[in-house]
């Protein structure tokens, strides 16, 4: 196994130092390190972060290998600086049995670009009727700890209560896609002045907030752990903040696109901007940033959602919801949080590595960059700016809303347990 000597990298943006990655661990940290036979990586001007962990990724395999495979999705993840991703359950077949989650987990291991931790469905077939065999998935080789019907809300209050209670037996967590279904029938975009003007059916903030409020109360009532997927509104941030203040064991994620983009983009009727939950108002964006800065929002999760070209090259109402996110996440966090001074690099490591790993109960991920720790490291150059070229994506799909946009920063190298998955900004 190649030994890497990274010279003059700034761990969490601190003073430049050298790191020696050997036998899968961080072997040494210090100035002026040397090691015979080590491959030297110039870290000058680069920030070293612990490998990023995504709590919310759609890898589409099995079933939609035309949009993404575990291999291409994990390659995109590595290009984005991720060393672990949680693969959402809405595949075909749904990841609601030990068999399917083990298949996805194994495909991730075979690819070797990024650890893949399958998310198990809460209900059979995402149908919202009957609990899936959560225990079997937890006990499988995939060791599932995060359960979600993402794409669908577990809107039945009794079923949600039972799920929250049941996963306590194996320290699991229910990650809720908070969307009151009746309030969002046919919903196309954020409900507000623009939806009325554009004649697109509105997705009101209250449909998200009502479910989050209910789930926080349920989690408190049964003493369970709750995770809220893709928080998108100012009101949701306020509810989560209040629940945390009251001691509810709730964590929440925000997506990069909700930190940057607004519903104003729907005026183009270009469904590249169609996503669920929808892009919201400028006030919501500001509230999410503030919530992420003060820790109300615990993590940034991508909700990377690849779709084939034809599912976006059409009229808005006919298009699929979702956008790519893995390869641009860190740049958007820099743009929206680091550059404006809302979060330092230690904060980024917390929100994009340590905390998501803790929520997912991942051993060996989200660890600090310290001697003896697993060598999961990203080298990131925050000084460059790049224009997003969809054609350059490692994903099989091209549905990035950032095409042509100039964003700061670039992932130069990603190391997964000491093995480079990305070097010189290219997949190895």
């Amino acid at each position: 196994m190649t030994t890497y000597l990274i010279q003059n990298a700034a761990i969490l943006g601190g003073a430049p130092t050298d790191l020696l990655l050997r036998d899968g661990v961080v072997a040494e940290i210090g100035d002026g390190l040397s090691a015979d036979g080590a491959e030297v990586v110039d870290g000058s001007g680069l920030v070293a972060l612990p490998g990023l962990v995504d709590l919310h990724t759609h890898l589409r395999e099995p079933g939609r290998e035309d949009a993404e495979t575990v291999l291409t999705g994990t390659q995109a993840a590595a290009m984005g600086g991720f060393t672990a991703v949680h693969a959402m359950a809405n595949t075909e077949p749904v990841a609601d049995t030990a068999g399917v989650v083990e298949q996805v987990w194994r495909l991730g291991r075979e690819g070797g670009y990024c650890d893949v931790h399958p998310v198990g469905a809460v209900t059979v077939g995402l149908g919202g009727q009957q609990l899936a065999e959560l225990g079997a998935m937890a006990d499988s080789a995939a060791r599932v700890r995060v359960f979600s019907d993402d794409g669908h809300c577990v809107d039945d209050a009794v079923l949600m209560r039972r799920a929250l209670e049941y996963v306590k037996a194996f320290d699991g967590v229910v990650a809720q896609h908070a969307q009151e279904p009746r309030l969002t029938e046919g919903a196309q975009m954020n409900e507000g002045e623009l939806s009325g003007r554009l004649g697109l059916t509105g997705w009101p903030a209250v449909a998200e907030e009502a479910i989050i409020a209910r789930d926080c109360l349920l989690a408190a009532h049964v003493g369970s752990r709750l995770h809220v997927c893709h928080v998108s509104t100012a009101g949701s941030v306020e509810i989560v903040r209040d629940a945390k203040r009251k001691g509810v064991d709730v964590t929440a994620e925000a997506c990069p696109h909700h930190l940057l983009l607004t519903d104003e983009l729907a005026t183009t009727y270009d469904p590249i901007y169609k996503v669920n939950p929808p892009l919201r108002s400028r006030e919501d964006v500001e509230a999410l940033r503030a919530g992420l800065a003060d820790g109300t929002i615990d993590v940034v999760a991508t909700d990377h959602a690849p779709h084939p070209h034809e599912d976006k090259d059409c009229e808005w109402a006919a298009a699929a919801f979702g956008m790519l996110g893995l390869e641009t996440a860190l740049s958007i966090v820099q743009e929206t949080m680091v550059d404006p001074g809302l979060l330092d690099w230690a904060g980024v490591a917390e929100r994009m590595s340590a905390t998501p790993a803790r929520i997912g109960r991942l051993a060996g991920q989200g660890r600090p960059i310290a001697v003896g720790e697993p060598a999961n490291v990203v080298l990131y150059d925050p000084s460059v700016r790049r224009t997003v070229e969809p054609g350059e994506s490692a994903s099989l799909s091209r549905n990035t809303p950032y095409a042509g946009m100039e964003l700061p920063g670039r992932v130069v190298a990603t190391f997964l347990r000491g093995r480079a998955t990305v070097l010189d900004g290219k997949l190895t």
């Binding site: 554009l198 009101p204 059409c314």
Partner: protein, 313 residues
């Protein structure tokens, strides 16, 4: 003028140019030969993803009176119903050399996509998209008002009914304000869109209070299936509170005209005696529709082949 996608695309000058052109076109109707050679050799495609016989034949008559070749393309399934995609249909029309595409679609924004996606290079006319807009309807409505009332400056227009789902209401609210009219939207609160307070119009829940002060009352179609959506309790209650009947019509000022974009649900939003009364200009709206659509097609297609996006007709 390159496309007509939204009533908001029209400046006051442009809107007035359409109206004055429509007046010339309408005078043709009184001549023995009702045809102009203006668009000879040009091809107009009526691309209808949604059934609308009246709008389609209105555009067809307009194009034919200008001597254009007309192709009617009734796309049975849109990509919403997993039929041929909008894009493939557009590429087909482009390959056939359409100069203008008149598009009706159930998806809001479909004409905008058609015009801005690079799939076609022809002019695109929005003939009604989802719950978004129907700009030629607004133009024919304004033209009808203009013929009866003269300048619309300061004129009060009440649009009554299902504003939430109405493309006619959206286009009219935009265009009538451009032309100087004061618009009041009258509907139960459930049928007014979120954010309507930013439209620059008045809103009211009380039809009886609005009628004695209005110069135009336009009744919007209310589909009975909205009842199952819970927007109002029963058709009868809707009619009692927001329907235009003889008793309410009697409270209108003498000069006030009654309009309806059609198709009417008689007995729901308007009673038969009102629809067929002397105040009703509903049939005239249909006649004017042809003249206004002639004006729009003429202004879009008769000029030089400009590639700019602006509406400097």
């Amino acid at each position: 003028m390159r496309h007509l996608l939204s009533a908001a695309d029209l400046s006051r000058d442009e809107a007035e140019l359409v109206l004055t052109t429509a007046a010339e076109m309408r005078s043709l109707a009184d001549r023995p030969i009702k045809k102009l050679p203006a668009l000879r050799g040009r091809t107009v495609v009526n691309l209808f993803f949604e059934d609308s016989t009246r709008t389609r034949i209105s555009f067809e008559a307009a194009a034919k009176r200008l001597s254009a070749d007309v192709i009617n393309f009734a796309a049975k399934g849109s990509s919403l119903s997993k039929g041929e995609s909008l894009k493939d249909t557009a590429l087909t029309l482009e390959a056939m050399g359409a100069d203008a595409v008149v598009v009706r679609h159930s998806a809001s924004g479909a004409p905008y996509r058609l015009a801005h996606s690079g799939w076609v290079h022809s002019s695109v006319v929005n003939a009604g998209d989802g719950t978004h807009e129907h700009p030629t309807q607004a133009l024919l409505d304004a033209f009808t008002m203009w013929r009866h009332l003269g300048s619309l400056d300061g004129r009060k227009v009440a649009l009554v009914g299902d504003v939430l789902h109405s493309r006619v209401a959206r286009s009219n609210a935009l265009l009538l304000q451009t032309l100087g009219a004061e618009v009041t939207l009258v509907a139960p609160p459930t049928l007014l869109p979120v954010g309507v307070d930013t439209w620059g119009v008045e809103t009211s829940y009380d039809l009886d209070a609005v009628l004695p002060k209005t110069d135009v009352v336009m009744m919007l179609r209310v589909q009975r299936e909205r009842m199952s959506g819970g927007f109002f309790p029963t058709a009868r209650e809707y009619s009692r509170r927001y329907g235009l009947d003889g008793r309410r019509m009697a409270t209108l000022p003498d000069h006030t005209i009654v309009m309806h974009p059609g198709p009417m649900v008689r007995g729901m939003e308007i009673t038969a005696d009102v629809a067929d009364s002397d105040r009703s200009v509903i049939v005239e709206q249909v006649t004017n529709g042809v003249a206004v659509r002639m004006a729009v097609l003429y202004l879009l297609l008769s000029g030089a082949d400009t590639d700019d996006e602006g509406l400097d007709a």
